[in-house]
Symmetry: C2
Subunit: 342 residues, 2 copies
């Protein structure tokens, strides 16, 4: 049996102190972290990027199959991903938790372990936040600050006609991982002695439970002297994000089915589930890959880059947004991305 | 009957667009607000202050007696207060909401009206956030960024022996307002035809439902050339905050019962409720007044300032933290502040 220390034994200030007391600040831009009314940062010569996420149990995560350490890691990383998607570098995060009585101190230690691991790997300082009670379940609020170089911050609205559309990594795996976990959960609910069967599907699980932010891609582009004309991270699905870029940039787009990068485990799982693979890759969310556009002149450079695939190009706005199938037929892109309000 | 538009008719992106589409950015430091992966800010020559709050229905607020517009206003203002407490100026906020099915679009419009009103009054830009579903009730996550002048940011840890301890405004009124609302609520729960009786108690209600952040105090001190040696806002109660300053500054303190500023409505209400007035003023939270220390040399300046009261002084740490009663007796200060985890 694991230990269980009730949160009430520490109190609010005691708890946050306990969870954050060994945090070492790594970034010169962090002047003061946890422990005052506000954190104090110095961004001289840099632009400040801010993104925030509110994650609620039962809506954004299911603790039935998400270990708390993974949840902490993912909560942090998805915010880092938003900063990279601006061509920035994450530097600080704040973490606030609402905690129901179900949770004990050890649970929160586990969650913070995940947060701290992510902060270590991505060189980010945890600089604030608080803990309070919650009537139901766990509520996680994370804000991430990052720095952008003046003139190099990349928005969604800069895509130009003839630009190439690129994505990093592969798509649809996180969604398939979620389907897999949901299936095992429903089997588990009916059985007593149950060992989930995940062999050969580790990649799908990892993509769902422990995604990474594409720091490496942003660095590779920078080293090659490429500043994308527009960029987003793929959290709601490729279709949905492409439509954002088209709308914000006032352009259209063509992407090609046979260019969309898909891992073989994703394909195998889609077949097993009898799901349309391309739909999963277009609309499955949470891949946290980067979607970006570069000028046509960068074609040779990006084509050679490992982990980057050119999937289409930007058109005039009146040409709309279409997926070109293997047979040459065109299907209009629709935002069927994951939407917690529907 | 008021209109009720279901949130599902707008969808997640539609909803956030609807709520934020008429926002005009006011601050030169705001380069890009709502609508990308992150907001982009320019804080050249200034330090960046960051504070965040997670507010959960049933824990931090009760919609039975808090109108949504007031809730929006207060949620924003309490974050501004944290920035002023660093001797900073709030400049940007992000607002994320978790919304259960009980709420409709008009409810959120009302909430955002309060947020926008606060932003207008305090010259703050709303630059980001999102909305998602919630399984139960309303969850509000707010992050506020502000600017601090280099060398003039005030922490909790700078109080020195012989410094004067000052507070702005008066204390205990917000707590009495809460008691009053709770009483009327419990009466209301038992009766059908019920009109709450708040006459002569408007100030208490306003302090609870629509607090202000002490922008004016920070400006007056600045104009007088005073940089406090330490400062906090009083959200958990004077006792609790004094102990924070003592601990962080490694000092002790003496405050005088007869110097603690209390409004006559607070006093009248305490008598009516048969509560100890000084306990309410020491431990009642949510006043959002400023507690700060200044060097003894500033005595004449602060004594003349309207809305500021010198309530005691800083001592050596070994002398502890005490309230000196009207009879000269000393009572040790304890943190009995409001704590949602207990």
């Amino acid at each position: 049996m694991s230990n269980r220390t009730e949160i009430s034994t520490l109190g609010e200030f005691g708890l946050i102190r306990h969870l954050t007391d060994k945090i070492e600040l790594k970034n010169p831009s962090t002047l003061k972290g946890v422990g005052d009314d506000a954190a104090v940062l110095d961004y001289t010569d840099k632009q400040v990027l801010v993104t925030t996420d509110l994650l609620l149990e039962g809506i954004h995560f299911d603790l039935m199959y998400v270990p708390l350490k993974h949840l902490g890691y993912k909560s942090a990383v998805v915010n880092f991903s938003d900063i990279y998607a601006m061509n920035g570098r994450p530097k600080q995060i704040t973490v606030s938790l609402g905690i129901s009585k179900r949770f004990c101190v050890e649970d929160l230690e586990e969650f913070y372990e995940g947060i701290k691991l992510a902060c270590d790997i991505y060189d980010v300082d945890l600089v604030g936040g608080d803990t309070s009670a919650s009537r139901t379940g766990l509520a996680i609020s994370i804000t991430c600050l990052g720095e952008g170089e003046k003139g190099k911050v990349v928005y969604r609205n800069g895509a130009k006609e003839t630009d190439l559309i690129c994505v990093s990594g592969d798509l649809g795996a996180a969604y398939m991982g979620l389907q897999l976990l949901e299936r095992e959960k429903s089997i588990f609910n009916g059985e007593k002695d149950f060992t989930p069967d995940f062999s050969g599907k580790e990649y799908l699980l990892e993509r769902q439970l422990k995604p990474e932010a594409r720091k490496d891609i942003v660095e590779v582009l920078d080293q090659a002297g490429i500043v994308p004309t527009s960029m987003m991270d793929i959290s709601d699905g490729l279709s949905s994000e492409l439509l954002h870029i088209s709308k914000e940039s006032n352009v259209g787009c063509r992407v090609y089915e046979d260019r969309i990068p898909i891992d073989y485990q994703t394909a195998a799982m889609a077949e097993q589930f009898n799901m349309n693979l391309i739909t999963a890759a277009l609309n499955g969310g949470e891949d946290y890959e980067l979607l970006f556009t570069v000028p046509l002149a960068d074609h040779d450079k990006v084509s050679e880059m490992k982990g980057i695939k050119v999937i289409g190009h930007i058109t005039k706005p009146e040409l709309g947004n279409y997926l070109v199938g293997r047979d040459g037929g065109e299907v209009e892109l629709k935002a069927q991305g994951w939407n917690s309000l529907n």
